[in-house]
């Protein structure tokens, strides 16, 4: 069952990453980038690496995406 789970998660990550790049609005693009981070946390947990999973969850889906969102207000982009 592990191989099938890894295959499905990779499919999900690739589809969400492609959708995040080809969006018109910028806020949607950043929120879908958080989905890529979530998928990679699940994959790191399956690969028996708990330290890397915790770091990617806190930094990739936490602070990094929030820095992008705060920059949107400065750039006066239409949300």
């Amino acid at each position: 069952m592990i191989g099938f789970t890894i295959l499905l998660t990779f499919f999900g990550i690739i589809i969400v990453a492609f959708a995040s790049i080809t969006q018109k609005k910028l806020a949607d693009s950043i929120i879908l980038f958080m989905g890529v981070g979530l998928g990679s946390v699940v994959l790191f947990f399956i690969f028996n690496a708990p330290d890397v999973a915790l770091t990617e969850a806190v930094i990739g889906a936490g602070i990094s995406s929030l820095i992008f969102l705060m920059a949107l207000k400065h750039l006066k982009a239409e949300v």
Binding site: D51, L54, V58, G62, I63, L66, I67, M70, H74
Partner: protein
């Protein structure tokens, strides 16, 4: 009713270029899939068991490769310096809108829990997954929550400066004390018994260094986040 869209040539050429590049690399990688990897970490795992620390990744980051962690902290410091230089505003702008009542009350309830969780992750880094980097960033995200919801909240700049300076100096001082007593930079000069594996006070200087790293990373991320926040409607 049928809309005909033609792809611009930039998209097609980007597709072809990146596809060619990735296919070349992929063909090289698929030919040389390693069957039996010679692991470099076998000897490190056995050395780690004699140090008395339960988490092997913490020992590698702080003790065996402690100099790399010092360089990483330097990179974070340079990034925070650059951001503070470019975006630091000299006057505080007047805030026009009061935040939502639910956000105001909920943030006051959540901030102590987030800080407690961050301190727990930071101090149990040598017994379970976690450590200084993760705990510091958790505390910084709690401070971001308070910055968004309260009008007049602001971490004083001199406080962040002193905390960061003392943490950085303490890291190098501990390394120099190890050099004086054991002839090894960042040597383990506190007692570390194997019989104490699993307790909070075990491993010598390893939890102390990780807490210092956590304090420094947390204060740097708070400074970065505070420079980027923008309040009010005028610049």
């Amino acid at each position: 009713m049928s809309i005909k869209r033609t792809l611009p040539t930039s998209v097609l050429s980007g597709f072809a270029l990146s596809g060619a590049f990735v296919l070349t690399i992929l063909q090289l990688l698929l030919q040389n899939i390693p069957k039996d990897i010679d692991r470099a970490g076998d000897s490190l795992l056995q050395l780690n068991a004699s140090e008395g620390v339960a988490n092997a990744v913490t020992t590698v980051v702080v003790y065996f490769r402690g100099f790399d962690t010092l360089g990483e902290i330097a990179v974070l410091f340079i990034a925070a310096l650059g951001i503070g230089l470019m975006l630091g505003e000299n006057e505080r702008c007047v805030i026009k809108a009061q935040s939502n009542f639910m956000l105001h009350t909920g943030a006051k309830l959540l901030f102590p829990i987030i800080t407690l969780y961050g301190v727990y992750v930071m101090s149990y880094g040598h017994l379970s997954p976690g450590g200084g980097f993760q705990g510091g960033v958790i505390i910084a995200s709690g401070i971001l929550l308070l910055l968004i919801s309260h009008r007049d909240f602001e971490v004083p700049h001199s406080f962040i400066v002193w905390l960061e300076t003392l943490a950085g100096v303490a890291y190098v001082l501990i390394g120099l004390i190890g050099l004086l007593t054991l002839d090894v930079f960042l040597g383990n000069f506190l007692p570390h018994d194997v019989s104490q594996m699993g307790l909070l006070l075990s491993g010598g200087i390893i939890p102390i260094i990780y807490i210092i790293v956590g304090i420094k990373v947390g204060s740097e991320m708070s400074a970065i986040v505070q420079s980027l926040i923008k309040r009010g409607d005028n610049v």
